[in-house]
């Protein structure tokens, strides 16, 4: 009788462990899904004319040089999840004045998720979601 009573108890404990492990696994998957750098900080496309020159993640601080020759050079910088035109050889410097874009501020910008250097035809687009 005593042995008969113990067996189901062990099984119950096993089931609790399995359930707990499953919960941890599900929580882990959710964490990976929601905290991955792409959704948390976003990504951006840098265009020259109408063509995508480079796609970058905002999760990694870096400086991207866009050199089109003939002294037409722009530098795009990513810092702390924000992207901006740090310098440009264009005459009007409006692109540098357009400041930084991040997922937090783009709705409060006139150009929303874009930075435009009209003379050098270099644009930066903060990617708003996965694009096909």
């Amino acid at each position: 009788m005593a042995e008969n009573e113990k067996k189901p108890l062990m099984k119950k404990r096993d089931l609790f462990i399995v359930a707990a492990l499953l919960l941890v696994a599900v929580a882990g998957m959710a964490a990976v899904k929601f905290l991955s750098p792409n959704t948390a900080t976003g990504s951006a496309k840098i265009y020259v004319g109408s063509y995508v020159y480079k796609e970058v993640s905002l999760g990694e601080d870096q400086v991207i040089e866009i050199d089109q020759g003939n002294d037409i050079v722009n530098h795009v910088e990513i810092k702390d999840g924000a992207i901006y035109m740090s310098d440009s050889t264009c005459p009007d410097q409006q692109c540098v004045g357009q400041g930084e874009i991040s997922m937090d501020n783009y709705e409060q910008r006139v150009l929303r998720n874009w930075i435009v250097c009209l003379p050098n035809q270099v644009t930066v687009e903060l990617t708003l979601e996965d694009e096909g």
Partner: protein, 343 residues
């Protein structure tokens, strides 16, 4: 009993974890929202950005080709364009495309309604100013400018089925409206190809197609014409299926001896309009109206401009004075929020 209960619990946990992952992976099937696609291009001496929700892979490339077609048709500087032909006809009638005729009809209608404050024949004056290039900072010769202003007269533009007739010496400039017209035509093109949600920015002319895919309205930052940085806003307006266009003294212009010389010219004198305004943003059902009205209402000033906008249905405006006073028309009372109240 207990074992069965645990088995059921385990099944629920397993099932919910599967569906939790599944719902994100198969979203395109569950939700009918097409993917966001974007494109940038350079036309009409400005930048054009398009962001639309569509599954049509070639749509934005085709829309760009349309932009190029309109650019060829309406450019003032491209030899052989309709506008170039009109300006070089020396008093002869020239045949034009249906699109050009439509723009001219609409432009003359605005001239009529604004008593000539809006006038496409202001081109001879525009030609004497340089607000962007090498000649920036130089004032035109006063005698030449008053001679040019004397030629400005929209009533002399004769548009009929055979084409356009302009007296010799007169020229037209569609700068204040061509961009708006093209924005509308591209939006029509995108809608005809099934786009129900999108955001276009044609060199500052913003046009929204429908609402955002989640059903909410678009929140559009209204440019601060006094802003020290180009991206500062005076506030934000909620719009859907509407265009927003801003005209102001800081877009194109220069300062000289404490005076701001800018690109919105008084059609009577040829000199830049000098009133209390720094800028006006107009919200209208299409970009042509918003484009034409922003220029017109700017020239009218706050008081007359506000009354003019209030007399039109479905159109609103936000005025920013040089003293940084922001006012808006009644239709925006529950749609416009000042910048310091924007979260």
């Amino acid at each position: 009993m207990k074992r069965r209960f645990l088995g059921a619990l385990l099944a629920v946990v397993l099932f919910s974890s599967l569906t939790a992952c599944g719902s994100t992976e198969v979203r395109p099937i569950v939700s009918p929202t097409p993917a966001l696609k974007s494109q940038v291009g350079f036309y009409f001496d400005t930048v054009v950005t398009m962001q639309v929700y569509t599954d049509d892979e070639t749509l934005l490339a085709d829309a760009q080709a349309e932009c190029q077609r309109y650019d060829n048709l309406l450019s003032k500087t491209a030899e052989g364009s309709d506008v170039w032909n009109i300006n070089h006809a020396e008093g002869q009638r020239v045949p034009v495309s249906d699109e050009t005729r439509e723009i001219l009809d609409k432009a003359l209608d605005y001239s009529r309604r604004s008593d000539g404050i809006f006038d496409i024949t202001v081109e001879p004056c525009v030609a004497l100013w340089d607000f962007t290039g090498e000649g920036m900072g130089l004032l035109p010769d006063e005698a030449a400018l008053s001679q040019a202003a004397a030629k400005v007269d929209w009533t002399q533009v004769d548009v009929n089925e055979e084409g356009v007739l302009l007296p010799a010496g007169m020229t037209i400039d569609l700068g204040a409206i061509a961009k708006g017209y093209i924005t509308d035509r591209i939006a029509d093109f995108l809608r005809a190809r099934g786009v129900e949600s999108g955001f276009l920015n044609f060199g500052g002319n913003v046009l929204t197609i429908g609402r955002k895919p989640d059903g909410s309205e678009w929140n559009i930052g209204i440019q601060d014409p006094l802003g020290t940085r180009d991206q500062s806003i005076v506030g934000a307006a909620k719009v859907s299926d509407q265009a927003v266009v801003t005209s102001g003294i800081y877009e194109r212009g220069f300062d000289l001896d404490g005076v701001r010389y800018h690109h919105i010219l008084d059609t009577a004198s040829g000199w830049p309009v000098q009133n209390e305004l720094a800028g006006v943003s107009v919200i209208a059902g299409d970009a042509f109206d918003a484009d034409a009205l922003s220029t017109t209402v700017f020239a009218m000033g706050v008081e007359k401009g506000t009354a003019f906008i209030e007399s039109l249905s479905g159109i609103d405006a936000i005025f920013v004075t040089r003293d940084d006073v922001v006012t808006w028309t009644s239709g925006l009372n529950d749609r416009f929020v000042l910048a310091d109240q924007v979260s």
